[in-house]
Amino acid sequence: MPDLDGERLTWMYTQMLRIREFEERVKRTFEDHPGVIRGHTHLADGAEASIVGSLAALRDGDQLLTTYRCHGYPIALGTDPKAMMAEIYGRKDGLCGGYGGSMHLVDPGRGFLGTSGIVGQGIPHACGAAYAAQIRGQGQVVLSFFGDGASKQGAFHESLNIASLWKLPIVFVMENNSYNVYTRVEQEDANAAAGEPLAVKAKAYSMPGETVDGGDPVAVHDVMSAAVERARGGDGPTFVESLVYRLSAHGNIIAPPGVPLHFPEHEAITIFGNVEEYEAAKRGDPVPRFRARLIQDGTLSAEDADRLAEEVRTEMEAAVQFGLDSPFPPAEAATDYVYA
């Protein structure tokens, strides 16, 4: 597997920062600009290392499909955050013209083929893209991202079976954040309840299953690189359980019109009263953790890290402003794109 040089490590840290700063601004929009974001928005803060470590294992031409918690991936792939923020604000200049919103970002030119807003249902789509890659025979690999909750869906089990049976060039990446909305994983998962890692599910489909610290981008990269190369070599899928902790609630509150939307505290606190669990996760925050590591091993100076953070903040402030300045799409455009 390719070693990560200083330049690559810095790139990874930069992408983690960009995701964090983007998500911070999405979250802040609820307070700074009430009413600008509608519906339901899900943030990737806490999963940055897992996302970036995974995508760092890809090469040009590889593809991915994800869940509705989808802001992180396109940022790391190079999608313009201005277009993304404008999409989340429902504007004409949005990545998808205001048709999709927060849960449905798509950028096929960069390999980001799409999302499903319904838990688990994007997993077979990724298998289909992997089937296409297998037929095309150009060595492309597809990543399928989903959460721990999705592994209780039939779509998950049907997909892992067929992917292993057909030796599809795919890696299944379960971001296990221990919560399905506000149900804890031990309350709904037989493996978790038995004290086993969720990666044991791979055994039922005769594929390798690995659990990795999703807060460590280098560890994620190493596991993912091996899985991606295995897929590329025609040996079939791998199931990777990446342990992450989302630092925000599942999403903003679900409320009828008239109630101002906002992000509540994490469910560990609001539902389970477990302040210490959340505080521990904050202390282990992957972004400062990786910064400290890069400074310690001399990859990055503290000054460079500060400068980088300032650049990223400026970039994401500009994305917010761009989104706010972008006009709404004309109402009558609502009937475009019904049919291709």
Binding site: V106, P108, Q121, E158, N161, W166
Partner: protein, 326 residues
Amino acid sequence: MARELPYIAAIGEAIHQEMERDETVLHFGQNIATHDDDPYLKAFGSDRVRVTPISETAEIGMAIGAAIAGYRPVVELYMAEFMLVAMDQVVNEANRFHYMSAGKVKVPIVLKAGYGFTAGWAGQHTGTIYGMFMGVPGLKVALPATPADAKGLMTASIRDDNPVVFFHHYLLTLEHGDVPEGEHVVPLGQANVVREGSDVTIVALGWMLGRALEAADQLASEGVSAEVIDPRTLAPLDLATILSSVEKTGRLVVADQSTRHGSAATVIAAEVASQGFSSLRGPVQLVCALDATVPYSEPMEAYLIPDAAKIVTAVQQAVGEAPVPA
């Protein structure tokens, strides 16, 4: 040149020809290509033709993913009801991606689904469920009633850039008819005026077309001239052809094997009432299945579903030759 082919062979010919013409067309599903002598497998190889596990969600979901990635899968689903275990993929995934991405991706898939097997298959394999799909934005629904249309609509469905549910009627499987050789395309959204007439318009869906033509023959002998229209696709629906026929005849009978409130017939009746009210000289008559699960026993099954005699009665009521039941 046309020659006689059974309905099911006409569908197969369309898939085969399109796979020859376009190497991005794939064909997979349950219980196909399980042995080396399979004609599709021999012609196109195991990359493009595959048997799948009994996993409808994965089959349809993978078709969607492969389509987004540039292919044109035709999924063999056998029974239309098998789609019900994977409804999210059909009505909440496949049909939405083009729209939600503002046209960045396309989902050209064909879901081949047999329906209406009212030959003793009892409650769970006899449904006429196309009405559930016709109002789903982004989805197209094809409903061939003849071997020629089966070929032409399958060809058009494969070439279409949208998800298409292709419903073929099990009772028509072995019915023969003239089918053009070579390329044959029936555009989606174009109704066929199968028989011209002046007194009443009968819109007949799928298997009901044959029953409607029988009824029209009998009515002709009684001096009633019936025009028979086959919409051929429910989405898009060629309302213009239906409305212009009703403008001529002033009377409408819609024959649909579905239960009344789940039928496409009610939608067609409502559209004609809404857009063609001034043409109507009397109430629209609906000939639908009775509201019950299809029973196993033959006399009960026959009692439930519409036939030529029920269409004749409805036409007689429409033209005022039979009393309208209270």
